[in-house]
Amino acid sequence: MYAKVTQLILIFLISPFLFGVINRIKAFFAGRKGIPLLQTYYDIFKLLRKGAVYSKTTTWIFIAGPIISLSALVCACAFIPFAGHRAFFSFEGDIVLFIYLLGLARFFTVLAALDTGSSFEGMGASREVQFAVFAEPALFLSLAALVRITGTMSLSDIFANTTINTLTTLDPAILLVIGALFIIFLTENSRIPVDDPNTHLELTMIHEVMVLDHGGIDFAYILYGVAVKFWILGTLLMSIIFRTNSGIVFFDYAVFIFGMIVLAVAVGIVESIMARLRLFKVPNLLIVALALSVLALTLTMRI
């Protein structure tokens, strides 16, 4: 029990750190010094100290959006394993609840965006739901492939079974799932090549434009929610790729956290060397993820 609470606290504490890492890597590639590693924490605390500014158009949905999204994401944290140790909650089929909690967060982010009546935010919301239409089946199918590979049905069991040994046998199905999950990870977290978190033009944004009108505490919630979501989806990847099973709990934790930092570095590198896709090409990318997971499933059917 204590271990599980520790896990949750670790997730809540560390997740904003990863954005600092990404920013540092990008700064490194651009030849800049970069912002402090703890900048996300500073931002969140600064925002929490601020008052509020609301548009005359908005209603309570606008305020409720970030609150509900954050609670959904925090709730989803309770279902993801940490360093291969069982999650706070786990049950047969928690995959469905997990994905739908992410869906709930998205649903209210989108409604809050539409609540402003701004065309920009409507545009961002439209893109967000469009990509989710393809990303959700891909996520379901890649997790279904893992269910078939491991023969278990909860996130905790799956990621306790896909140990590093499975990876070293070079099971092609797992490699394909990793590929699919990485694409979904980038899409759901609005990173390059799907969305550029640093873009400056409202017309080209996706996630950033949806939260354009939020400020103060609401925005702090959103920022923190984004960080938690990054961790959640990153866990799906890193629990397969990068963790040990040494028996010493804190060593495992440390290795896993290091793995998440490696993931952040990878994202930073991708963002530094790749350009954004044109918007109408994003569905292609997601269909590639879908194709990879279907392929992985086909492999599990035959072997």
């Binding site: 490699l175 569905p283 194709a291």
Partner: protein
């Protein structure tokens, strides 16, 4: 189960999907080239060839042709013809990708219905060879540029080669060489044709070739 063989096969399938989803002709040419090399290496990885002199010669010829000569010729044709370097699929990329997935599933189903005389080195190799063959056909059907059609033929050849190397083992040398020769001539002729078409018409879009037909429906009657 030899995992390197499986990885290689997966890479071949991924090449199929890349071919269907990438928009640059240059990338497509390279994808087909790499796929050709991977397929050429397959017998070595699987260890089905007794490393006889003849089979090694066959391997190196096919790899050299498909991995170096053809891409070189095609890239040169591309450069000479000075065409737009984008593929234009009929029906859009998502549809071709979905078709690719469906064709792969169909191939799996088809291969599960075949009865093999001897055990294969991987139970994935036949479905993948079918899928590669079908993807080549899909490329020919759904892309409009002459050069992508050549690429489609090359992919079909890749599929046939893979199938041959899986089923026939070392005895496929003659068949292989004959097909390779065909393809070689095809690429050569296409290269020249593309060059001339583009000089005459300023494009190599095969859709516009329909204008060359004799009979034109008149609107008056």
């Amino acid at each position: 189960m030899n995992s390197w063989v499986d990885l290689n096969i997966i890479a071949i399938v991924l090449m199929n999907f890349m071919m269907l989803s990438s928009s640059r002709i240059r990338i497509c040419i390279r994808v087909v080239a790499i796929q050709g090399i991977l397929i050429g290496l397959m017998p070595l990885l699987a260890g089905v060839h007794s490393t006889t002199y003849a089979s090694l010669v066959s391997l190196s010829i096919s790899i050299a042709l498909k991995g170096i000569v053809f891409p070189y010729l095609l890239l040169r044709a591309l450069q000479k013809a000075d065409i737009r370097k984008e593929v234009e699929p009929i029906g859009g990329y998502p549809l071709s990708l979905l078709m690719g997935v469906i064709l792969f599933l169909v191939s799996c189903w088809l291969s599960s219905r075949l009865i093999y005389a001897k055990p294969l080195f991987s139970n994935l190799v036949v479905p993948v060879s079918f899928a590669t063959f079908f993807t080549g056909a899909l490329i020919i059907v759904s892309r409009t540029k002459a050069i992508t059609q050549v690429l489609g033929y090359l992919m079909m050849e890749n599929g046939i080669y893979l199938f041959g190397s899986a089923l026939l083992g070392g005895q496929s040398l003659l068949v292989e060489l004959a097909i390779l020769l065909d393809i070689f001539v095809a690429v050569f002729v296409m290269g020249i044709a593309i060059f001339h078409i583009s000089r005459e018409f300023d494009h190599i879009d095969t859709q516009n070739l329909t204008e060359l037909k004799d009979w034109v429906p008149s609107k008056q009657e």
